[in-house]
Amino acid sequence: MRGGILLALTFVILCVLQQSSLHALGTPWASIPLLVIAGIIVMQRVGVEEGIAWFLVVSVMYGFDLYAFFLAIVGPLFLLRVFTTRSVYALLGLGVVVHALAGTLAILTETLLHRFFELSFLVVYRTGTLAMQTLLIVPGLFVGVILIRFVERNILNRVYFRAS
């Protein structure tokens, strides 16, 4: 339960950073998908269920965003079937593949929805940022793993687990 609360607080802090901080930093920092990077790390290191919940909340928060929704679907598939180890390389592979696949699926779905149901999406914007984000996600995940290891060793192991 404490893990869930800690995860939720992390989510809230990252939301604030994503919406306020990264946007103010300008290009290319504004394109860093902070919540997605964190979600992939959560999925691999904390639990598949938490990862799915993370992406579903992101999807709802951004107005039922299809990209985050597809991340919640393809993320567990690749984590449980392909990138099954907990190494950094598996995490990087998982992040790149899942991000590219979910982004492509979202673009295709939005295009089809626009074609047949005349629903409007920012498809052009997403197509432009997908390649940039695929490049940014690798260093993002790498830094994220270093940070999470630091937090696990120096903060959680000393404070959280000792307290529980």
């Binding site: 869930g4 604030v16 103010a24 930093l25 639990g47 919940a53």
Partner: protein
């Protein structure tokens, strides 16, 4: 007998963790709607944004030197802004000079006296009045005619203060000017403002032959506005067989919003 999956320790642990995760997010989200907490949220986001902006500018300066494309673009954008402002000023000056040239042309042709003024404020579209930068101290008196271009009536002075005057435009609904139609014979009528940019000329004798495009000018019969100033052109004739008079719809020959320089012509017969 095997246990159901949802009764296992793992399932209950997952349920607790996910419940706590979603519950905390839901609580934070609901708290953002509490009115007295809104400033706290706003303050946190503003502070984070401010710090990030400073960091962003610092990193941009660190990575961008004078020869980089972004630096060149910034310089070009600044220059473009400056040149746009200059071009706008030159354009405004040229337009004003053209206005003054036509006004002085009118003065020279008619050998008349006038006071040059500039429009400094415009009213809401419904009342059709403007304020000029000349007042009683400059010799402006009530009911003076306001002229633009080469003798086009713009309006009349409605009220005067020491340093400024309010001008009622000809298209104002309360404006009434003695007018004449220059056709085969001179026709006398009252030109009144209407809702919108059109005027109406009423009380024209029934036997008058009017054609579309006839020029409407001031008649000078009211003793305040000089004769022969252009008001507009006839765009429609409204005739009722049983009525003793006909009326005409008059279209303005100018757009009152485009002018900034005017000439004030004192009344022919000064008010007592």
């Amino acid at each position: 007998m095997p246990r159901a999956w949802y009764t296992t320790d793992r399932a209950q642990s997952i349920t607790r963790r996910l419940g706590a995760f979603l519950g905390v997010i839901l609580v934070v989200w609901l708290l953002s709607f509490v009115p007295f907490l809104a400033p706290v949220y706003h303050g946190i986001r503003s502070a984070v944004y401010a710090v990030s902006s400073i960091l962003g500018r610092a990193t941009a300066r660190l990575f961008a030197n004078e020869t980089s494309l972004s630096a060149q673009l910034a310089v070009c954008t600044d220059r473009l802004s400056i040149e746009t402002v200059k071009a706008a000023a030159v354009d405004a000056n040229a337009r004003e000079a053209e206005e003054w040239r036509t006004l002085f042309g009118y003065i020279q042709r008619n050998q008349t006296q006038g006071i040059a003024a500039r429009i400094i404020a415009r009213s809401a579209p419904t009342s059709s009045t403007v304020i000029i930068d000349r007042g009683a101290a400059d010799g402006i008196i009530l009911h003076s005619a306001i002229i633009i271009g080469e003798g086009v009536l713009y309006g009349t002075v409605e009220s005067v203060t020491e340093t400024s005057s309010v001008v009622r435009l000809t298209e104002d609904a309360e404006s009434a000017i003695a007018g004449a139609i220059l056709g085969k014979r001179k026709t006398i009528g009252i030109v009144k403002g209407q809702e919108g940019a059109l005027l109406s000329m009423d009380f024209i004798p029934q036997e008058t032959l009017l054609t579309i495009g006839d020029v409407v000018v001031t008649s000078g019969l009211d003793g305040e506005i000089p004769e022969g100033l252009v008001i507009g052109t006839v765009s429609e004739v409204v005739a009722t067989p049983s009525a003793p008079f006909i009326s005409a719809v008059v279209a303005l020959v100018h757009d009152p919003r485009e002018w900034t320089s005017v000439l004030v012509i004192p009344p022919v017969i000064p008010p007592l």
